[in-house]
Amino acid sequence: MSKEVESKIAMLSTLVKEVKADNLNIRDCIDMHQFCAFWGAFDILNYFNDVVILVHGPSGCLGNRRFLPAMGHLGECDNKPHLSTSFTNREVIFGGEKKLIDSLNEVNNQYNPKIIAVLTNCCADIIGDDVEGCIEGLPEEIRRKTIYLNSGGFSGKSYRRGTEMAFKLLAKHMPMDMHTSDKSDRNGEQKSVNLFLRRWIWDQTKQEEINEIKRMLEMIGVKLNKIFNQGISIEDFYEMQNAQLNVALCLFFGMGLFEELNNKFNIPYSKVTYPMGLFATKKWLNEIIRILQLDVNLEEIEEVKQLEEQRRKLVNEIGKGRKCIIWTQTGERMLALVKLAYELEMDPIVVGVEPSIVKDKLPIFEKEVLEDGLDVKVFASKYIEDVKGLIDYLGDPVIFCNNNYFPNQTVFKYRFAHNPVYGFNGTRKIYQEMFNALKRKSNKYSLFVEG
């Protein structure tokens, strides 16, 4: 058994290098958090309360987008208009350009939005409707507020590429004259940052995270300029150019915008992401302190000292060097959990890494693993039986997971979408949850423990 387990273990850095060098025959995985470029572009444009999106193509893609009710989602759904030119056979054969022009006039009359964004899906792209030409022919009033993107998923572009394309489009239309302050030096005026939230976050948890980030920024003397959040207005978006720095809670999601703001307005952005855990939060804040040239020493803050004490206690409770298994979605959260494991002086092994997602999120892995040197063992399987074999091999590991298949084991199951995880408050909560997890083995009679 040990040989079999060991033969499946390699280092993450090796995987990232191989993916980067394109040495692996990687098949895509069905990760339902990562749809096609159309979804990425739609999601970004849909953040705005004064942008109306018109999809040029069949309406099916939009029907699919209202998927949360089908998943029993807790409190709300995206109720905004999901408009399309609703292609049928007829438009596919004869073209849908006239319908697009009429629809744009209709949308403008009905909603009079600040921006009308036309997104194409596969059909319109493949048949080659001239969207640009249609917009060119519109009356001036509609033309100047209409933007468009060819975002058909058939291009093979990922969700992330779709978000980047949308950010690029938005930044292109960002006027320079909204620049109300001099970023370079404002003689003692409080410096400000824009904040980009993580993607899968809603409700009270989101508000708690925003409050915590604001509190931490105030702690180092920085104010929040704008938050890229659902319901943002175009005006607020334009005013993002007045910040001195852009920071993200999930850089992977926000990077496209940050690069555009950097190119166009020379606003730097912090590449340090996911302030989860004491070390990562300090690193996140220290990078802001460094870039904004602030005179703050986090180690002198009482709250930091207290958390450090708690961390030491927790390390003693866990046992230095204790093995730990991390099983979560491949991406920033996974890397953040690896860092948390190291912070708690554990010896982590990641299971279920999807090479196709490493490929899709390569900039993040390149930065964190190849540039910053974060490395971890990976176990090359995502099958429960194999993971159970790994647990037996490791003895008594702590298991970080979203779904608990492991009765009678020490399981740290912390739902990130429903619990605030960022900042010092997030750290405190995570530590407490970890203390609790160590005190009890997962109960085989629990309905939430499978098997």
Binding site: W39, S59, G60, G75, N79, T85, C122, G153, F154
Partner: protein, 425 residues
């Protein structure tokens, strides 16, 4: 009002969802989506509540330009060895439909020892509802061979996924017909491949939620000579009785079923009255009548619930929003509703934003609809909400009960009464 002929927030989802919903009703089945990644989502949505293996062909610019046939072949074989399904459906998407890959040829070439069918899922060809129809027909075309229209069996076409209790409804209705000496079975409900092969041996096909199953019934009528009838969804005692009588009539059943029908009706009423206890006067029926009520759903479902509430609960419905894309049927639908309840306002639309605006303007205190409508309502009011159609995943039920048939009358009444009084009194 926006011209919904130009741009619409459609009530219908993509054809891939409808196809996947039907395939998911077949034990140990797989779908291979021939398209880009985004098109996998509807299949994933179908797999949330029903077991379904999913694979896809990773369509990209290259396969769109040069054809994706190689990928299809590879994925069909991959899927076969990965999950060992009993049946596989290759579902086309907009992209693969337009470029015209020869799916049937590839299926033949793969020569797998299981049935593999091709179904058109592309959103410009099919909606969720028509997707269900083409999938049902494709399965029958592929699997059914030796028809026998004298075989003493009635096929009930399942209204797949129309509501959360559709499976309980069709199972209950089959059992109920058996009590009347009519052997019946639900189609496309937890079926095996062998079950489907047998679907062409029947004397009658019954559609209970038109148009779901219409294509399959027409096909079976032409190829195997099996006649079909389309009946109203049998919610409520009146339409349940009509359902049984109509089927008996179509079968030219000479047995007198009237005594049993009366016995059933009486038994339900007795159970209702006994369940009330002796505190009828203190029940809140009159208070409930004063609340503003709305039904939102597809035509058959909206009409079925309107009938039971008006005719059997002696209550009223202020507004019915019928979700329908068909303009041609609008007058007929409206007339049917007015026949049941002349004072009810009727809105017929295929546009979600019109549904949303109507709900938010009228602010119903009681809402019968789907989770989508409930989320629309929540922005402006907090009605007592009863789920009657898809999607309905907000509430958790491990033991579902039918709402159709005699038993369904009481199950629905329980939900109706309890949800309303817990919300308001």
């Amino acid at each position: 009002m926006r011209n919904t002929n130009l741009c619409i927030d459609s009530i219908e989802k993509c054809g891939i969802l409808g196809v996947s919903h039907v395939i998911a009703q077949i034990v140990n089945s797989s779908v291979v989506i021939h398209g880009p990644k985004g098109c996998v989502y509807p299949a994933y949505e179908a797999s949330i509540n029903y077991p379904l293996n999913i694979n896809y062909t990773e369509m990209c610019e290259k396969s769109t330009v040069f054809g994706g046939e190689h990928n299809v072949s590879e994925k069909i074989v991959d899927e076969f060895y990965e999950n060992s399904p009993d049946l596989m459906a290759v579902i086309t998407t907009c992209s693969s439909e337009i470029i015209g890959d020869d799916i049937d040829g590839l299926i033949k070439l793969a020569n797998l020892p299981i049935p593999v069918i091709r179904v058109d899922g592309g959103g410009f060809l099919n909606t969720q509802t028509s997707g269900m129809n083409v999938a049902m027909r494709a399965l029958i075309e592929k699997l059914c061979e030796n028809g026998d229209n004298t075989y003493p069996l009635v096929n009930l076409i399942s209204p797949v996924c129309i509501s959360s209790s559709w499976q309980e409804d069709v199972k209950y209705l089959s059992d109920l017909l058996n009590e009347f000496g009519i052997k019946a079975r639900p189609l496309f409900c937890n079926a095996t491949v062998e079950d489907i092969r047998d679907y062409c041996r029947a004397r009658l096909n019954v559609i209970i939620c038109s148009p779901i199953g219409l294509d399959a019934c027409e096909y079976m009528s032409r190829r195997f000579g099996i006649p079909y009838i389309s009946l109203p969804y049998p919610i409520g005692a009146e339409k349940t009785e009509f359902f049984i009588k109509s089927i008996a009539e179509a079968l030219q059943n000479k047995n007198d079923i009237s005594p049993l029908l009366e016995e059933k009706r009486t038994a339900i009423k007795r159970k209702f009255n006994n369940g009330m206890g002796k505190v009828n006067t203190f029940r809140l029926f009159e208070n409930i009548k004063k609340l503003k009520k709305m039904i939102v759903g597809p035509p058959e479902i909206a009409l079925a619930y309107l009938r039971i509430i008006v005719n059997e609960f002696e209550d009223k419905i202020d507004t019915v929003i019928v979700k329908s894309l068909s303009i041609e049927d609008a007058d007929e639908i409206k007339a049917k509703i007015k026949e049941v309840s002349s004072l009810t306002e009727v809105i017929i639309t295929g546009d979600n934003q019109i549904v949303k605006e109507s709900i938010q303007n009228l602010k119903p205190q009681v809402l019968l609809g789907s989770d989508t409508e409930y989320y629309f309502a929540k922005e402006s009011c907090e009605p007592a909400y009863i789920n009657i159609c898809y999607p309905g995943a907000r509430e958790i039920y491990f033991n579902r009960h039918p709402v159709a048939g005699y038993e369904g009358v009481l199950h629905f009444f329980e939900q109706w009464y309890n949800k309303i009084i817990n919300r308001y009194y």
